[in-house]
């Protein structure tokens, strides 16, 4: 084990303009919002984002002008509404939207996590989604070599960087996720570089007391950042719930085209020394 504890600033510098990035969690749960805000502050450009069902994390990056391309199974704000910046910029062709379906996106991550160039999935046949070509996570119809069954092979999705917000980590990169894990283990194994932001740093000895609770061992993780409230306004199980009012405020502001005010208030405020 080597120490990989670093600052939010340093960790975000691991993301280069143009990188393919995925985020942990699902919709409003354990989204790595503080890391996303730091990406906005650092003015990242031309990111490609990929995830099964992201929400505000992706929409904020899109709204702040960090994104060139989106691949997702669904990108919306659940019962609260559509994703305003995603919708606006996609319709204005300011971003390229390549809709995936959930299972092929998961399969693409899984292929990369397993070290395979691709992985087949069932279903999909007959959907126009198959006609949306895509370099990563692209599709090819294949026949199983044994049964001849028609399958859709999904190309591996190996993000340049996966950032995952978790409850607990140590300075070496051991990680404990509490509650739903989503595809976070798969994404971490799939990505070239893994950044973990954690509510809380705990001593390595705590991991050794309960090894069965370790979700990711240190050798999968490249950087750990202490980030209390790091998923806010999204939830972090066992720590805090979603702040639905905050998210509604974001939607109202974004609907009025006043995202700058939101960014000034919640992203740049107190961090404008640079």
């Amino acid at each position: 084990m080597k120490k990989v504890l670093t600052s939010l600033d340093e960790a975000a510098r691991l993301v280069r303009d143009g990188d393919l990035v995925t985020t942990g969690g699902a919709t409003f749960h354990r989204a790595p919002m503080e890391f996303v805000r730091e990406l906005v502050r650092q003015g990242k450009k031309n990111l490609s984002l990929v995830d099964r069902e992201p929400a505000m994390d992706f929409d904020l990056l899109i709204g702040a002008g960090c994104v060139a391309k989106i691949r997702a199974g669904m990108l919306a704000f659940e019962g609260l509404g559509l994703a305003p910046n995603f919708r606006k910029k996609s319709e204005a062709r300011e971003i390229i939207t390549k809709e995936g379906a959930c299972q092929p996106i998961i399969a693409g991550f899984r292929a990369a996590a397993m070290g395979l160039p691709s992985l087949p999935v069932k279903g999909m046949l007959g959907s126009d989604l198959l006609d949306i070509s895509e370099e990563i996570g692209g599709y090819k119809q294949v026949e199983d070599p044994f049964t001849g069954e028609k399958m859709i092979a999904v190309r591996a999705i190996q993000p340049d960087l996966a950032v995952i917000h978790v409850q607990k980590a140590d300075e070496y990169g051991n990680v404990r996720i509490e509650g739903p894990v989503y595809e976070d283990v798969i994404k971490a194994k799939a990505a070239k570089t893994v950044v973990v932001t954690a509510e809380e740093l705990i001593p390595n000895s705590e991991f050794r007391k309960m090894p069965e609770a370790t979700t990711l061992p240190h050798f999968i993780v490249d950087a750990v950042v202490e980030a209390p409230k790091g998923a806010y306004p999204c939830s972090c199980f066992n720590y805090y719930d979603v702040d639905y009012d905050h998210i509604k405020e974001y939607l109202r502001v974004a609907a009025k085209g006043q995202l700058k005010g939101y960014l000034d208030k919640y992203v740049y405020w107190g961090k404008t020394d640079e």
């Binding site: 809709e99 379906a101 279903g123 046949l125 069954e149």
Partner: protein, 260 residues
């Protein structure tokens, strides 16, 4: 949040009727999954388990297995809906279950649907020049052809939704399914009635009209010719007990979200 006025006669509110119709599609011992943005499926699964399907396996999109849902939240992945779950089961595991043929029922949405059951959740207009960028189909393209029963719920039965031709095939209807997948069942539950495809041409037909609505009303609000099942009937209304179950769980009225 308003819990809304009466949208139907008989003193039955429309969400309650749709939820009950959706719950009725679940049989005991079946394994059922709900996905994202799914307050109606959450409530339907809860009702089914508390009434006629006590032994069903309930897999939450929030990954909880057989949770005791005591409140519904704007996010269907809100982990508070995993209360007292017996375990966790990731969505990728649930999708494996579907690939193995062991996931019996799934609930999905649609912005457009055609006579063959093709759904669109991707774009209004052209995919390369969308008039409206929709959220995306999530698991639709994967699950619609392979899940033994898929229930599509549509809270606004209108010609804008029930269209002659979908702008984009996100989820596959019967004419767009690979041969191996043709037998899987599709049911559409809307604000006006319940539709299925149980005829030789595999096109949409009315199975039941909701109390207070008519076959003509359904046809007039549909952008293609709808068939009528020979045994068409009125959709069964939920009992007082079922309505209480729904209202006691969804005290915040999240079920109304899609109706506003």
């Amino acid at each position: 949040m308003s819990t809304g006025g009466k949208l139907m006669n008989n003193d039955i509110e429309m969400p309650d009727l749709m939820i009950y119709a959706m719950a009725s599609e679940i049989k005991n011992f079946e394994t059922v999954l709900h996905g994202v943005s799914s307050p109606l499926p959450v409530l339907a699964m809860s009702v089914a388990r508390k009434t006629h399907a006590p032994d069903m396996a309930y897999i939450s999109g929030a990954e909880g297995v057989d949770p005791e849902v005591d409140r519904v939240y704007p996010s269907s992945f809100d982990a508070r809906m995993n209360r007292n779950a017996v375990g966790y089961f990731g969505l990728h595991e649930a999708f494996d279950l579907a690939q193995r043929g062991e996931l019996n029922v799934m609930f999905l949405g649609a912005a457009q649907i055609d006579r063959y059951g093709n759904t669109n959740l991707s774009v209004i207009g052209d995919i390369d020049q969308p008039k409206v960028q929709l959220p995306g189909g999530a698991a639709s393209a994967f699950l619609m052809p392979i899940t033994p029963k898929v229930v599509i719920w549509i809270t606004r039965h209108s010609k804008r939704v029930f269209v002659d031709e979908v702008d984009f095939v996100t989820g596959q209807g019967y004419n767009n399914r690979a041969e191996a997948y043709k037998k899987n069942e599709l049911v559409v539950i809307s604000s006006l009635g319940v539709m299925n495809f149980k005829n030789s041409d595999r096109v949409m037909q009315i199975q039941s009209y909701h109390p207070g609505h008519t076959l003509d009303e359904i046809k007039e609000n549909t952008g293609f010719d709808l068939l009528v099942a020979p045994d068409v009937a009125e959709t069964p209304a939920p009992s007082k007990e079922v309505i209480d179950l729904i209202h006691n769980v969804d005290t915040d009225g999240v079920r109304w979200t899609e109706f506003r």
